[in-house]
Symmetry: C2
Subunit: 428 residues, 2 copies
């Protein structure tokens, strides 16, 4: 018999990981396995490796692991990596970040677990605007025992973040006698890909302040912005003049640098007690010094970093443009995105029934029959069924094949509703 904590974790294994590994085991290949799976369920950016490959190889040759690298280092991150991350994020957040306020930890998952475990006792709650990154349930609640309370956003408004939705959830929790310790956001948002503007961020921070709750801003897609609006961090003094000490920012190398396997996340906090406690949690999930050495090397040259991130943004924008042109051509509607790796598809009209059961059935059909792995909105605590997250950051021919299969599957299921009927489209 295992502990209560273990039983909770076992009951709560993220479905995302499972679909990922199944799809990866038999991947589509135009020549070798044309009936293989197309994995567009995982938010991996496969468009960057050629930009990293040579740089990593030359770093490894010029600056290999030394005895000093292999030794014990501060378990909340080496000084050099924290200095360089602070340099990068100071520009991103438009405010000087102190390297001593950063905790390097095993992935953004580790950073989210750390801040949730530091802020919350079991049973206390974190409000999260929904739909949200589905693994938040595990990342924020799995070890801390915190409850995640969705703050539903409005489908009619494209699920845009509003301070009102956050405030409504906080008030409802208060009415139910639930102690809320934080509001957590993906910013830019995942799955929708919204770049939260300064006004809405300022309003959300004001609401958090009014209700005396901390803010956790997961900014792991901060540099993955390809739309017209610039990214604004929750740590930016322009939107956060009064709540900076209670605002904790999460970032990592998985998305912006396309290195998810390296499992390197950071937490930034200006609250000294939270910082000390987060360092104590990081003791349990430190990052290999060899990997920290590699990442510090990547960040050593700001000119290379700037050109790499700019190229990444261009490629993301091209990939998004390619996808939505295909979706438009097939009459598949979606919420327009400005950031991130995914598009939030609106497949409501093809649901074989009502409710999340119908969504699950459509998802299963797409996965088993069309062999396309995209994730159903239920996995993101979507306020309504029928939405799916499709990640487009793979080679363009795979995206094209996936959209072709999805369209064919939808047409097959509902032959009477032609896919190209423009009156059905929510978005052009």
């Amino acid at each position: 018999m295992v502990s209560r904590q273990a039983a909770r974790l076992l009951a709560d294994t993220p479905a995302i990981a499972e679909a990922h590994f199944r799809a990866e085991a038999e991947p589509y290949d135009a020549r070798l396995r044309p009936d293989g799976y197309l994995n567009l369920g995982t938010a991996e950016n496969r468009l960057l490796w050629d930009l990293l490959d040579e740089r990593l190889a030359s770093l490894a040759a010029a600056d290999p692991m030394t005895e000093a690298t292999a030794r014990y280092a501060p378990l909340h991150g080496t000084g050099v990596l924290r200095e360089r991350v602070a340099g990068l994020l100071s520009a991103t957040c438009r405010t000087p970040l102190d390297a001593d306020d950063l905790v390097v930890i095993s992935g953004a998952t580790g950073a989210l677990d750390a801040i949730a475990s530091v802020l919350c006792d079991p049973g206390e709650a974190i409000v999260v605007p929904a739909p949200y990154y589905g693994a938040f349930d595990t990342d924020l609640g799995g070890r801390s025992g915190a409850r995640i309370l969705p703050a539903p956003l409005d489908p009619a408004d494209g699920f845009r973040l509003t301070a009102e939705a956050v405030e409504r959830a906080l008030k409802q929790a208060a009415a139910e006698g639930i102690t809320v310790r934080a509001v957590a956001l993906s910013s830019p948002s995942n799955p929708v890909g919204e770049v939260h503007g300064p006004e809405v961020l300022a309003a959300v921070l004001r609401v958090a302040r009014d209700h005396d709750v901390d803010v956790i801003s997961d900014e792991i897609y901060a540099h993955a912005v390809f739309g017209p609006h610039a990214f604004t961090s929750a740590a930016d003094p322009a939107v956060n003049p009064h709540w900076a000490a209670r605002t904790h920012v999460v970032w990592g190398f998985a998305k912006d640098f396309g290195l998810p396997g390296l499992k390197t996340g950071v937490l930034h906090t200006r609250d000294p007690e939270v910082l000390a406690a987060a360092r104590a949690v990081a003791y349990f999930a430190p990052v290999s010094t060899a990997t920290q050495h590699t990442l510090a090397g990547l960040l050593a040259d700001p000119v290379w970093v700037a050109s790499f991130l700019a190229a990444g943004r261009r490629r993301l924008g091209d990939s998004y443009g390619h996808l939505v042109a295909l979706l438009d051509a097939h009459g598949i509607p979606y919420a327009p995105a400005e950031a991130g790796f995914s598009v939030w598809l609106d497949l409501r009209r093809w649901l074989p029934g009502t409710g999340f059961d119908a969504e699950r059935r459509l998802w299963r059909g797409l996965f088993e029959t069309a062999k396309v792995s995209i994730l159903p909105g239920g996995a993101f605590r979507s306020p309504e069924p029928g939405w799916f997250r499709l990640c487009h950051t793979v080679a363009a021919p795979l995206v094209a094949e996936a959209v072709r299969r999805i369209a064919a599957h939808l047409e097959g299921e509902h032959g009477t509703r032609p896919l190209d009927d423009p009156s059905n489209g929510r978005h052009p």
Copy 2:
């Protein structure tokens, strides 16, 4: 205000880490800083790097990180690393280990946290023979909330492990109404450096079975054995015919491979539910795939591994021999060791008073005045004051300088008790 878990962790930061970083900041150098600190407090093996350096460099050149390496991998460890660790440890444990029964996680700390969190609810207990590796309190209890109950071993018997001591602690816990979920051991032992023989291991496993508690065997020093007795794993069927499913083995690359910064530990368990739950915990503390790739490369050639480990054992034995010759020459007694990086010094007669306060004062004098960092027995929950752990796995001249300073300090403090009076020595 932080959570109760965070407050517990903050109250409980291991003193070992603090002394380490302070001593490392101003290290002794015969020419450049002759009055610098000598850090013999940290169980790092500094005797192996020249054996690793070239091999790591040639691996990095021949088999660099690829796009596949940088991607998501199973969060309980890549298949190839688990296969190779299983191969290595199958020989060590003299029983075939299944790679699927291994969980790779951020350091032995992560592995200990995982198994403790899986087995124990907060307030439940783990019995640990004392003296024990001081960070067990944090590693096993910090996040799980488990209580650590020391099972005191007998100083008169050189703190050798006995099943009776374990059983006494289990019975006392039962009498006090405490639920014990496991017995945890360092094997070989740390700080004493005992290689536990088959008989005592079998007896401890029988006691665990009689009391229906799991066994956690931390075998991170399994290959660091230089004495006459061969290492026996708690997973070895010869000593564990009936309790294998309830015996969980921890290992890692920090000690045997001298790569503590790489923070790569493993947990082996044959209990399917414990395994599934440990994988779920590993989700929060996975190891960088780049580092797993490096370590899998290190293990790829069994001939190299065998010769590396054999060379490491020879160097350990030489280092130990050099240290104890110096201790003998200065009349400083100690418990003889057969494994590990440390010697357990008996400084009882130099205590400036009685009790652990006196031990703390002697420790502070050694650290502040003699500028030698060794760790006081209190940090290892020693059953009696006056014992200190000295790690000798650094360059021989540093060990010589440290013993010289320690002897001078002891003599200065207690000039009336000549250091070379053999009647004072517990051990020759």
